[in-house]
Subunit: 233 residues, 2 copies
């Protein structure tokens, strides 16, 4: 009778368990006290054990973000676009409020995870099915900015517009992405296709910024002219 389960041998770690413990620890003790060492201790394990399940701390943080994104309500079919967007974004906001560290971590990420891309893709889908043109959807997503995530931030850094110089390679990447994220690719390249060019996928940040700003300012003025006041305070 070898190894007769000496006091219930601790279950083996899984990536899932690591991420779950990391989220729980960040919720409880704050993101600043989440170190590879503290997380390992919480799991009753030696720090280096974690590296068998996450490549490094960056990947750990990415995984934690994915956990939070996974908590965002799924799409409700049959809603009008504005309700659908609002519900989705407010659900995202609720997830962010449940995990106060999440917005900060998302802000600090450089490139989005597949989970994040999928979320964005479905968001774009709402607009497209609501009758928005590709062009308008493009700008609308920029204007939403990180409100889409329940807070505010500049995303869209340069996922697609990496200077991989070789346009054939770039086209391949685009084609590959289109299979998984059709809406993203449609919006990302749509505008440029209209201009006859496929290169220069990077968008005009300055224009996007001013678009959102102008939109807000016009809205402000409209409210001002109506003498608008909020009910509560």
């Amino acid at each position: 009778m070898p190894t007769p389960a000496p006091a219930q041998r601790r279950a083996r770690l899984t990536r899932r368990a690591v991420l779950g413990a990391a989220v729980a620890l960040a919720d409880k003790a704050g993101i600043d006290s989440l170190s590879m060492r503290s997380l390992a201790q919480a799991l009753g394990v030696v720090p280096m054990a974690l590296y068998k399940h996450v490549a490094n701390k960056e990947e750990l943080l990415d995984g934690m973000v994915d956990v939070v994104i996974g908590e965002i309500d799924a799409l409700v079919v049959g809603e009008a676009w504005k309700d659908a967007v609002r519900h989705r974004i407010l659900s995202a906001r609720r997830a962010m409020l449940r995990h106060p560290w999440a917005s900060q971590v998302i802000k600090s990420r450089t490139s989005p995870t597949p989970q994040a891309l999928e979320y964005m893709d479905s968001m774009i889908g709402i607009f497209r099915e609501g009758g928005f043109s590709v062009n308008l959807t493009h700008h609308v997503m920029h204007a939403l900015g990180s409100r889409m995530w329940g807070f505010t931030l500049e995303v869209f850094d340069s996922s697609l517009s990496s200077e991989s110089l070789d346009p054939q390679v770039q086209a391949g990447i685009i084609h590959e992405m289109a299979a998984t994220y059709p809406h993203i690719v449609e919006v990302a390249i749509g505008a440029d296709l209209e201009g006859g060019s496929v290169v220069g996928l990077g968008c005009d940040d300055q224009f996007e910024f001013e678009f959102a700003l102008g939109l807000l300012l016009d809205g402000f003025e409209r409210l001002r002219q109506q003498g608008w006041e909020s009910a509560s305070h």
Copy 2:
């Protein structure tokens, strides 16, 4: 003839010089390679020498942010409110683009520096003189969010609404702040005064969030109905 300037003794450090070198180093090598040690080396000095000019790294970062804020154009008098706001914000954006690390650092700050408060104060002043009510100005500033800084982010954490429990102490702080930042205090407490209460300075984040979101969504819909398309792409 004592101390005959042996090869031009290096000029003494100043806080200004430290901050300037820090900004330059962050511009050149990125914010990640800015450590107290690397900064000291760039200044030809031992790391601990810096601590005679900044209390710690946090204060160094605050100082760097102030340098960037100092680059934002001063207010132009005689402009209509919308032009004034737009120019100011676009100037802020230019400053952020000159120092790519700045937005990230500002995002990471917890409480605003006096320089930052002054900037916000003058921004509020533009709206107030443009005929905006205190109430509307309050919400408008929230909706602008960190676009005010040339990027996007949630500020207004809890500068005033710290639970210092004793309302008399709080009133003192408010009175003190009002001398320096009249517009901020006016907007911060204005809404509550109308409600008859001075306590609960904290604002309803949820409401502010939905206000800005609704504003954007309404704008989007208006554009959609008009079949709006941007000229460039």
